[in-house]
């Protein structure tokens, strides 16, 4: 994978988490009189000053609707918004900026796929293959497609370690009926990275296209869609230190061209009459209505920010955090960590004996620690491990080793509380 070319020369030589933290105004806050320890970034990450400023400045100095105004303000705003598409294309190493479709979030990207690829390209009798560690957003749209169009939904099982069972995965492709593999690139519960390149190689060998849900993965490591060889890739802005309300679907041009539109309305047409309408070219064919203009400007700032730090530094920092968390939490009697994948990112889910995850989260909150508790929008995965809910600590570029120590010490207190 071509990593080097994406790292600007201006990146700091050493990853300095204290300096990074200064970029995030919210981290100065105290919660219940204690410093905020925000370990819920996998749900949504905090925003650096550059993102906040970019969106505010746009509203204060150059805001108008895009793609249609003939005036200065609209042209300026269009340029600023379209720069987000270029930034995304650069981030993913997409060969063509027109392959970048702007959506609201990954959920919308996946629903777009279930509609336009599922209903427009796949045929009844074909199948969609997902894994046993998907977020509900990569399950439900395919169930709806199945019930609507008779397109089978298959689920590739995962191992006790929380990794994709590759033999079972290949076996499910063997009859050639799977038209699309739609799979997470990194589990939001287990932290597992799926072996994306092998997944693609095997799927292509059996004639299936591959879509990755990169909501978590793109935050933690460089994603090069050409190196992965995949056909579609989805991610969302708000987990990548950008604003809510903007997501991405990247797809190969010839595949997007062959797909019918998703939503109808303005922006996505070429011409409209009462008899018939014709569609705009990709990506606008899939972008009905006024787009997330300010969010695009914010996402561009977020991508620039992440790239200025550099994915090699980010990945090294987060690997250190995960290793430390696994060691510290794993050493606490009664704490059970879910998933032991070899290749994993900045998410650690755990259960505590005698204490329900919601109670754990409430007690940690009293220490100023924000964790997620519940089924993490992945109920089938939780059932696979015989659990109803877990607590989940997730890490970001601003997370420190000391915060993980503090989590571990607080968890020992929680354990005593429920002993």
């Amino acid at each position: 994978m071509n990593v080097e070319s994406k790292i600007p020369l201006s990146r700091p030589a050493v990853f300095d988490v204290a300096r990074i933290r200064e970029d995030f105004p919210i981290l100065r806050q105290k919660i219940r009189g204690k410093p905020l320890v925000f370990l819920d970034s996998a749900a949504s990450a905090q925003k650096p000053r550059v993102v906040i400023d970019a969106m505010r400045e746009a509203m204060e100095t150059q805001y108008a609707n895009v793609h249609r105004g003939l005036h200065w303000m609209s042209e300026r705003t269009t340029d600023a918004y379209e720069a987000a598409r270029d930034a995304v294309a650069g981030l993913l190493n997409a060969p063509d900026r027109h392959e970048v479709v702007i959506t609201r979030n990954v959920t919308e990207s996946l629903n777009l796929m279930a509609h336009s690829y599922g209903r427009g390209v796949l045929k009844p009798g074909q199948a969609v293959l997902i894994s046993g560690m998907e977020h509900h957003s990569n399950i439900v749209p395919w169930q709806m497609l199945r019930d609507d169009r008779g397109i089978e939904l298959r689920v590739a099982p995962i191992t006790d370690a929380g990794e994709l069972d590759m033999a079972a995965y290949e076996a499910l492709l063997a009859d050639g009926k799977v038209g699309l593999v739609s799979m997470t690139h990194m589990s939001n519960v287990l932290g597992t990275y799926t072996p994306a390149e092998r997944i693609v190689q095997i799927a292509h060998a059996y004639g299936a296209k591959v879509l990755f849900d990169g909501a978590q993965a793109v935050v933690h490591r460089p994603v090069d869609v050409q190196a992965l060889g995949c056909d579609f890739y989805a991610f969302t802005g708000h987990k990548l230190y950008g604003p809510t309300g903007i997501g991405v679907l990247w797809g190969r041009r010839e595949l997007l061209d062959a797909m019918p539109p998703f939503l109808g309305g303005g922006e996505m047409i070429s011409s409209v009459s009462y008899e018939r309408s014709t569609w705009a070219e990709v990506p606008h064919k899939f972008e009905a209505g006024t787009p997330p203009i300010l969010e695009g400007i914010g996402l561009k700032a977020a991508i620039d920010y992440v790239q200025s730090i550099g994915y090699d530094a980010i990945a090294a920092h987060e690997t250190a955090l995960v290793d430390h968390a696994l060691a510290r939490l794993g050493a606490i009697e009664g704490v059970h960590i879910l998933g032991r994948a070899q290749d994993r990112g900045g998410v650690v889910s755990f259960a505590l004996d005698r204490a329900h995850a919601h109670d754990v989260a409430t007690l940690l909150d009293r220490q100023g620690i924000a964790v997620r508790a519940g089924h993490h929008c992945a109920e089938p995965l939780m059932r696979r491990f015989g659990l109803d809910s877990t607590a989940r600590a997730s890490f970001a570029i601003y997370t420190t080793l000391e915060e993980i120590d503090y989590l571990a010490e607080s968890l020992m207190r929680v354990r005593e509380f429920f002993a």
Binding site: H356, H358, D359, G374, T400, Y406, F417, F418
Partner: protein, 165 residues
């Protein structure tokens, strides 16, 4: 970045004792009524889709129509299990109308921390439910305390499903 961790004495969670009073921890750990009734007249399931908590409640009536026995099976946090157990304890021997009134009063108490009917006829059972009043300071946890009651009322009303949503 350094963090002061040496001050974490045993009273770390003292302010949480309002929420997790000993009676709640006790009933959450060892619920007395967490059982399916052998014979029952009504039952209902409760579901909180936001957090995944689930409960099933069974009710047996006496010949005079009062509640003779209740049991439940729950999966959920300490607060939801303790609330279900305290509910089962307090509604036995009461009429359906009383159980409904108790539910309304308890729901108010869980939401606001106040006990508007404590001086009325339900003062005694509400006093037993009072340890759960602390949830009003934790808006996301109020539904944990009320889920069992939603299920009970559904059972009393002849419905099969309840949701705390």
């Amino acid at each position: 970045m350094t963090r002061e961790t040496t001050d974490m004495s045993s009273d770390t969670f003292d302010d949480l004792r309002d929420l997790y009073q000993e009676v709640i921890l006790d009933h959450g750990r060892r619920p007395r009524h967490a059982k399916r009734l052998e014979s029952f007249d009504a039952s209902a399931k409760g579901d909180n889709p936001m957090c995944g908590d689930r409960i099933e409640v069974w009710v047996k009536y006496a010949p005079d129509g009062t509640i003779a026995d209740t049991g439940f099976q729950a999966r959920g946090c300490a607060i939801s299990v303790a609330s279900a157990d305290l509910m089962a304890e307090t509604v036995v021997g009461r009429s359906k109308a009383d159980a409904h009134a108790l539910f309304e009063a308890f729901r108010e108490m869980a939401r606001t921390g106040k006990c508007p009917q404590c001086d009325a006829t339900l003062a005694e059972p509400l006093e037993r439910l009072e340890p759960l009043a602390g949830v009003h300071e934790y808006p996301s946890r109020v539904k944990c305390a009320t889920l069992a009651w939603h299920a009970l009322v559904s059972a009393l009303d002849g419905d099969k499903e309840a949701s705390s949503e």
